[in-house]
Amino acid sequence: MRLAPGIVSAFFLCSASYTGAAHAQSPDSSAAASLAQARSALKIAKQRLAASSASVRKARALERKPDSLDFDSLHMRAAVPAMPTMPPMPPMPPMPPGVPAPPAMPAGPQTHPQAGTSAQRDVIETVRKDPAAPQLPSDDSFGIGSRTIAAGATVRGPVAVVDGTIDVLGTIDGNAAAINGDIVVHQGGHVRGDAFTAHGKVRLEGGTVDGEIRSLSGTVGVTAGHVASHGPHGRYATGGAGRYSAWRAFKLAIAWTALCLIIGIGVLTFAEDPLGNVTQALADHFGRSLWYGLLGQLAFGPALLAVVVALAITVIGIVVAPFAALGAVVLAIGVIALGFIAVAETTGRALVRSRTQAMLTPRGAQLRALVTGVSAFGLMWVVAACVSENSGAGLAIRGIVAIITIVAVTAGVGAVIVWRLEVRRIARGLLPASSPHSIDDTSWQTPTPVSGVAAARRPTPPRPPGSVT
């Protein structure tokens, strides 16, 4: 079975030889031009016969690895198969005298991939998936083996072959494509469209190609970076900026989850009180936090710009402006991180059963809630990464997860703003410190020794000498 493509190719190459020989033996002297063309076709067909074994080797290798083809290495790996035996030539039909020679016809085979092997269809499909490949004609348009466009003949394009070469002596009114073969545009040959080869060359030997000449070699097929960017027909659909890999997204989700856990534990360790206050503000004023967060995010850019412009007015401000901008960005990152960690902790508290929480110390319960909440958000992204290759459902899930995350971050940022506003209002006396909506102000203030001052010893009169205690 594996020799089938080679045998098929050899059969048609022999047919091409026969066609050329038939024309060569034509006694009609008026067909001198056709005789010359037939001889040329015979010569080309013999060359293609010698090349057919290479086609067999490629086809075998392609059956093993249809999605990524390294043609050069295929040449190195494949064993040289025995040449298929040529079928005997049928007897020549006598040519009636006085009948002009037939017009130059394509000397190549006219078969379609349906008659070829699945390996050849895989080759076409593999090339079709290469992002650098142009729009290829349908599989039905591909012929197997070499094809010659005779001088003087005009063939409507596209002309496409696999495992063969296109020799253009006439005109192709359209595109030409050759996979595992060359396109040779001889003197007088004309391709009015584009010429494309995969693992082959477009050779201009005096001919003309009006359109683009494009060749792919080396590894051909879909690239690793564009696996998920192909449309239903395997065409390159998105630019480099839109490339997406499920495995890469999975690793990013894991990495971000780990990063958030590290940041969260750091916040819990070094800024426990602010975290507690923000969590409290989030629990008490979720709606207000969401709106404040939205306003804060929208206002950040213009506010930063205004500050930088205001600083740039003065000479000293020009020097200070970059540091101010950097400080604002650092502050924004800190607010976002604090807010998100607070949201994650709140989410974790909701997810973990209160009975088991009650068995832990307050800090242990806080840590458990934090880990649970961050893991929940990370898990959403991991799930989104795993299903993202299914274009419709994947995109929908990714969109939902992204919206949830954006809402969480917005609410977290808003909770930080709410907390700070509450602190300011308490400091100005606008809000009583005992208000149910107040935030524990002592958590934000600089710690002071509140455990009391050592009492002074009360002076007592000296005891008289000789007294007994």
Partner: protein, 297 residues
Amino acid sequence: MTRPLAITAWMCATLIALISHPALAQNEGADSSKDGGGERVLDVMRQQHDSVPLNVHVGYGGGELMVRPAPVGVLFAAHCVYGDESDVPKISFDPGAHRLNIGGEGGNGNVSIHMRTASFSGSANSGDMRLELSPYVPLDLKLEFGAAEATLQLGGLAIRQLEVATGASSTMLRFDSPNEMAMQNLSLHLGAASFRATGLANARAREIEVNAGAGSADLDFGGRWTDDIRLDLSAAVGAIHVHVPADVAVISDVKAVLGDVDSDVAHNPANAAHHLAIYGKATMGSIEVDRSVGGSD
């Protein structure tokens, strides 16, 4: 730990983590490229059918780039070698507008080649490209590089306008032979780049504009002088070194704002056939002019 110290430590830790995280992702990309597929080669060319001016825009992210004249009968030919993880070079030609655009999205040139990497980081996923352009059609060239190592052999071409913008690249611009036509404009916008130009007189540009960001530019005005040249320099933080032939008179009006200007061309030749007028300012960089042309005729 006191509250301000804790807040500061937490913010710094957050910032460091966020900054280092993309690097982690970048390494992931680089690692996957190692065990990715093999080398890919793309050749694209067009035959020259007329002499209509060609507008060429090349946007090149990282890797090696060479631009040079094409053989007879070829309008342009691009030979690209890239890896499995790289962005596929996009080479598009608009026959109507006679525009070639090489590279990624958004090129407005006629011929454009973009080989921008996914991460814009340069070498890890970069490729190599050789671009040949016809010397028989007027060219409007716009070349933009990221972290590329570029060799531009533009001598012998017919360039009407040339604009080169570099990022953190190492660029060599050569005019070994005269431009086939007078160049209307030559602009060099250099980022944190190492840039060297030789045979600039062969460019046949009456006005040359050089903006050096944080890189170093070495401008050699060797070659065949056919006209006077006006050179506008701006050295923000970078250093510009101008080499002038001994037989060319120099008119220098370069100001140092916070930078440094050093001119070693006080004595002009008596019967100088051509003049180089240098204008500009060294904001925080340096501009140096001397008569040490290496490749003058």
